[in-house]
Amino acid sequence: MASGTRPDIPDLRAGETDASAGRAEAPRRVEAGAAPEAGATGASRSTGASRSPVPGHADRDAAPEEPSDVAEGAWWYAWWGRSLRARVITTTVLVGVFLSALLGTVLYQQVAQGLVAQAVAGAERDASQQVALAQEAFDSTDRQDDSGLTQTADDQVRSMAGNSPEEGRRVLLMPGLDNTRGAVVPPTGVGVNAEDLPPALQEAIAADPTNQQVVVVPMNLAGETDQVTSVVVGSRVSLPRAGEYDLFLVYPLVREQETLDLLRQLFYAGGLALSLLVAGVGWLATRLVTGPVEEAASVAQQLARGRLGERLPVRGSDELAQLATSFNTMADSIQLQIRELRSLSQLQQRFVSDVSHELRTPLTTIRMAGEMLHMSREEFSEPVARSAELLQQELDRFEDLLNELLEISRYDSGATILERHDEDMVALVGAAADGVATLAERLDVLVRVHATTAPVVVRMDGRRIARVLRNLLANAVEHGEGRPVDVTVAATEHVVAVSVRDHGIGLTEQEAAHVFDRFWRADPSRDRTTGGTGLGLAIAQEDARVHGGWLQVGSEPGRGACFRLLLPRQDRYAVAEAPPPVPGPDEAAQDTRVPPVVLALASRAEEDEQP
């Protein structure tokens, strides 16, 4: 992600990489011999770029590691996305929690409504009975003077309220709105005040005195600090001589609230238990499924890392057993094909190497004979003399071809030995430019070197890098169509970039994709001034790779091509990932800057060589 924009802090990157067990381990795995397979994968995926010069990249391709600067807050997302078990458990828990909450809410609502309905019905029944009893009592009282009536009303109200008003009903008796006889009996109540009653209730009683009036409202009750939702039942009673009175019976829903609180706690506990149960079941189920899948993934990774003998155990005859069987069959097939390919490749490389070596001896003899003929051409007739020259010329080419074939075969067999020394890249570029000066002069191409005067020291095998540079410059001059060739050296503390840009016919995208293939030529019919073998760029790319660098090409047809060599300046580093594409002709100014690259530690073998 952002790594490409931070080329200037490779130490941090390296440090982070080093701190990561996965990255430190990656190169070691490749050294075990996965390079051929990984190399094939890398070539097939890259466009206009060489395959990865670092063996560890193959491992990265097989099992990409998370970006080093992934935001901390998103770690769970990566974890969630990487683990089927996590997804299943998370999903089932979420669904379980949602369903539990939904079910709990619905049940709670139903229970709450049921409780309230039950309480209201109970309150209505009780109030009906109480009011009837109260009316009977008022009717049967033997004292109708004020104090007697008041005493009776007080006693009746207290009697209806019971011993514990906090738990039972609360009672209020007050003159009806339509009572015109004055308050013969003053309002009296237990546990509730007249001003706390809903005013509409008394109006409703006045409007319909024959029926109970019921409301469920939060009430301020004596002895309670907070409002308590209560069922208030208002009824009309008639007091002897005092007239119509309203009797209010208040039933606090305290017990119902306690029941609901208990129920809520039970729902919470039940929901939690259910969620845990669901999580447990999900864990168990996914364990049954993902266990074998993880095992298959592990074995697949082992296979990918080259341990081709790894196989899945086959247990039982279920779908997972079928998967294991199929997987093992596939692994057998792959192992067989890889072995065949490997032996074929080794056979081919050995053949090339052997042929080259075998050809060297007769070639030497032929060359000596050719030399003799060439030196004696003056003595021959013109046609024979010309043939002797051609023979000599083709012998040179043949020898070059043979040398390059031997070089390639050394790369293929892994027998390449680097002789690294601290050398000045600027001087090396200058020498290379001088080397092609004759050809450039002949083709009338101006070679321009853009570099600092200060030396750019790079720990490298100067012979091989000089060969690369010579090859690139020769190609540029040859295909430069007489236009100048720009060679630019750019360097940072850890990386040096050398761009060789011509302004000739350029390469198409398809051509650029094959430019590093062996024996590939951009235009076979084209006159070959330099007489190249078609192995130069392939060897150059191998040279860059063994240095832990990259050789890339960028081109536009008709506007020239640009080859860029990127090398780490210290041998303990390697350019880990493919650098950005080579700038086009319009962005030639960028050649003076080293593109952002990701550095990684070189393989352990190379590290061990460090002092």
Binding site: S140, T141, D142, R143, V184
Partner: protein, 511 residues
């Protein structure tokens, strides 16, 4: 309705049952000043706050009333302190009803009735319960037991009766009531028995804080209450002719002798002519009499007899109580003050034990002493001073100790103040007396039935009346009058006596 004739202020304070006067004849109204009138009216009776009716000698009283015009109509704005209700005897019968509260005789498990006049109407149940829960009247203090008392009241001043089930629910309020099963049992018996006597009440429940106190459920007419009303029936009466006691059927109009077959087992002594005022125990196993000079008491039991000469002088006729004890009053020989003695049943030689009667004053003389059929009250006719014809008919509770032995007589209640000269007085039932007496306005002694707490009820007139007795019949009683010529008269119709036969005394056992 009457409250509407009061100003609203007065109406709110007026308690009509506080003091009820029963008027007789016409009232005279005299305007003393503008807005103030004095009403003078003869009064024949009074019902006190406890509902006890006392017939009074007719006498006029005067009371002043202030009037005020309210909305163009005159209203009473002030009346004397404690003024209750004035009404005629006819109105009294319409507005009030004699109801009975019951106290308990724990020694014999009997109800002791007490009649009260309570206002008719929806509040009758309440007022009867309220009255029942009040304290025992002073004349019964120590003589009876009650579950009520000052620490117990109606939780609500109302005893509603369910119109469907006819159940009266008495909500009580009293500390510790739930933990006192004996008291609950007493209340159950008293309230149950009294309220079930009201029309429209067929069950009674007692509750505290809404919970029933009665584990066996509400009381109804079939419930065993643990106490009974006294029901007496006399099958055998003794007619004394000379020295002989002849078994007769006292309920028969002709007082005929009982067939010999029915009285074969009776062993009755001859009673010497020197003895008079013979009394017999309920089972006729014991007899008692006083000497003609009223200085000795004679007792007979199972063939044994004993004359007690040392009790006192001026002894009354002896009286048997339901325990079998013999009661007699007289004058102590030493102090010459009135005394009451009791001789316990069993041995005829048992000494007389004086009973404390602190309210009997020196100089007063007890003319008659009779014990009520329930054994809790004594009927005394007390003459204020010797030779005076001013008699008082008093009823006083018999205070007994825990063993049931009589120890004292409670403060008396003056039963029939209109009677001034009493020839004889006897218990007819637990609530009624029969009296041969003269009222102020009468020329001679007449026979009366005296309901305790009720109006005198005249029996047919009979010249020469000296004694009247009541013979219990189970349903009530029949009176038997004796005239000075030795003739016994039974009642023949509502207003005529029938001269049944001659005899010296008719002895009703158990009285």
């Amino acid at each position: 309705m009457a409250r509407e004739y009061l100003t609203s202020t007065l109406a709110s304070e007026w308690v009509p049952t506080r003091d009820v006067l029963v008027l007789e004849g016409n009232q005279t109204v005299e305007e003393q000043a503008p807005g103030e009138v004095t009403v003078t009216t003869p009064v024949q009776g009074r019902i006190d706050e406890q509902g006890r009716l006392t017939e009074q000698p007719v006498a006029p009283i005067s009371r002043s009333f202030e009037l005020q015009r309210v909305d163009g109509e005159w209203r009473i704005s002030a009346f004397p302190e404690g003024f209750g209700l004035w009404l005629s005897a006819a109105d009294l019968d319409r507005a009030f009803r004699p109801s009975t509260v019951y106290y308990l005789n724990p020694h014999l498990d009997l109800f002791v009735p007490d009649v009260r006049w309570l206002a008719l109407g929806d509040g009758l149940t309440t007022s009867l319960a309220r009255t029942q829960l009040a304290e025992v009247p002073s004349h019964l203090e120590g003589a009876v037991r009650t579950g009520g008392g000052p620490d117990l009241r109606l939780a609500v001043g109302a005893v509603p009766v369910d119109p469907t089930t006819q159940m009266a629910v008495v909500n009580l309020q009293g500390s510790g009531l739930s933990d006192d099963p004996d008291r609950v049992a007493d209340l159950r018996a008293q309230l149950g028995h009294s309220l079930l006597g009201l029309r429209g009440v067929s069950a009674v429940d007692l509750r505290v804080a809404g919970r029933s106190l009665l584990e066996d459920g509400a009381v109804n007419l079939g419930t065993e209450l643990g106490y009974e009303e006294v029901v007496r029936e006399t099958e055998v009466g003794l007619l004394r002719i000379g020295e002989e006691l002849i078994p007769v059927d006292p309920t028969r109009y002709d007082l005929r002798n009982l067939p010999a077959a029915e009285v074969r087992d009776l062993d009755l002594p001859r009673v010497g002519m020197s003895w008079t005022g013979v009394a017999a125990s309920a089972d006729l196993s014991e007899l008692a009499a006083v000497s003609a000079d009223r200085s000795e008491l004679w007792r007979w039991r199972d063939g044994e007899s004993e004359a007690h000469a040392g009790i006192g002088d001026e002894l009354t006729d002896p009286s048997f109580d339901p325990h079998g004890d013999v009661w007699v009053a007289g004058t102590s020989r030493s102090a010459q003050d009135p005394r009451v003695w009791v001789l316990e049943t069993g041995d005829v030689s048992t000494l007389a034990r004086p009973v404390e009667v602190p309210w009997l004053a020196d100089g007063e003389r007890v003319e008659t002493l009779r014990v009520s059929p329930d054994g809790t009250r004594a009927l005394l006719v007390v003459r204020a001073e010797r030779g005076s014809a001013r008699d008082r008919v008093l009823v006083a509770g018999i205070v007994r100790d825990s063993q049931g032995r009589a120890t004292a007589l409670a403060e008396p209640w003056h039963a029939a103040p209109t009677l001034v000269e009493v020839a004889s007085a006897r218990w007819a039932s637990t609530t009624d007396l029969v009296v041969a007496a003269r009222r102020t306005q009468d020329q001679r002694v007449a026979a009366f039935t005296v309901p305790l707490g009720g109006w005198l009820d005249s029996l047919p007139d009979q010249a020469g009346l000296v004694d009247v007795q009541a013979v219990p019949t189970g349903q009530g009683f029949v009176p038997v009058a004796r005239t000075e010529d030795g003739r016994l008269h039974t009642r023949d119709g509502p207003s005529v006596w029938f001269g049944a036969r001659n005899g010296d005394e008719l002895i009703v056992p158990g009285t």
